[in-house]
């Protein structure tokens, strides 16, 4: 029962979604779809503490067992508690909350994300060293795009911006469409496997 019940719930829920879509049930179809979407939202909202609880458990255990770098875990827990209290008292759009989010969290977040820019350049140097035809094509395409989007590009090689635009609108758009169609077919096949109970890895009991 512990193994079969989740599979049955998957099947029934998926079947319900498909019945409301494929069969003409009058106003019931629309009402049922809206209600089910609301149920999905509400159930995920009530599960919102799953991540924070996991985070607290992990870092609490680090502090308790004095694992290496446990001080950072302690700092995380203290900041988490203080920030949560401030955001509940002040509201998420309050002056102090916005200061914490905009001037601290968003700045660290953007700085770490921007830092990838430095690494992307060095990684590109290592991987693009014209090892084969594919790498050469990728490198040439990337260079044209970068030059085309920079104001100096057209001054170095005339019409680079036009070529960059063509690459974006024709080969890039078509390639991405091919990938999307392939991924959609894959998702379709995976969904059928999940509904029929052939794909059970999500249950943690193996397929």
């Amino acid at each position: 029962m512990k193994r079969q019940l989740p599979i049955i719930i998957v099947f029934v829920t998926a079947l319900f979604v498909m019945v409301t879509k494929f069969f003409d049930l009058g106003t019931f179809s629309k009402t049922a779809q809206d209600e089910l979407n609301l149920w999905i939202t509400v159930s995920s909202v009530f599960a919102f503490l799953l991540g924070p609880i996991n985070l607290v458990r992990l870092h609490w255990s680090n502090v308790e067992k004095k694992r290496p770098n446990w001080v950072y875990s302690a700092i995380l827990l203290v900041v988490l508690v203080i920030s949560t209290i401030i955001m509940f008292v002040d509201g998420v759009n309050g002056k102090v909350s916005l200061f914490i989010v905009d001037k601290i969290a968003n700045r660290i977040d953007s700085a770490i994300y921007a830092m990838l820019g430095f690494y992307v350049c060095s990684a590109a140097y290592r991987s693009f060293k014209l090892k084969n035809t594919e790498a050469s094509i990728l490198l040439i395409s990337a260079v044209i795009l970068m030059l085309g989007q920079a104001p100096i590009g057209d001054a170095i090689i005339p019409n680079t911006s036009k070529l960059a635009e063509w690459i974006l609108t024709v080969p890039n758009s078509a390639g991405m469409r091919g990938i999307r169609i392939g991924a959609s077919i894959g998702a379709f096949a995976a969904s059928i496997r999940v509904i029929l109970g052939l794909e059970r890895s999500w249950t943690g009991t193996g397929s």
């Binding site: 998926a14 594919e134 395409s141 970068m146 890039n172 078509a174 091919g178 999500w202 249950t203």
Partner: protein, 202 residues
Amino acid sequence: MTLEQWGNITATICIIMAWSYLYKGENPLYTFAEHILVAIATAYGIAYTWETQLKPRVMTDMVKNGKWSLLIPAIIGILIYAWFFKGYEWIARLTMAFWIGHGAGYALAFNPPVFLKQVFDSFIRLNSFNNIVYFLVVITALMYFAFTLRKDRGILKYGSQFGRYALMVAFGSAYGSITMAYLSLIIGQLQIIFKDTLHLVK
């Protein structure tokens, strides 16, 4: 000093702490910034979900409008916490099953119209160079992704090879665009430090 100035100084310190990674990898300043970010982001997630989702559902929908049927999905959501109780982890899978069932059903019922439209739109009139290239790239990219077919000879071999090259052009352009986005983000951070805080740039 105004709150804005204090904000810029704090932002600058945060940026320097994060970028200290470039100088010395995982160092105390970077690790400190990393943990602070996780803590604040989690706190914001909790407060935001409470204020914009949970409170309206409970206070407005259930208590005020009397929509007590929402107790059922609420209980389904709460069941996920069984994950933390040894021996009762399987109960959490019921919630997962509900979400996965909805996702799988949705993928079968509602996604095909979206991607089938993309398939139909790919069969365009081949009356220009761009249209021919577009059509060829879509078809050969799909040939490349057909892993269950033998592609060691004939049209599939050359088609998938062309698809591979076309995908490299697409990935290259995506890479170029992302790199430019990163660069503008770096410039934005530098502006906070040198323009807003230190006033060295006008």
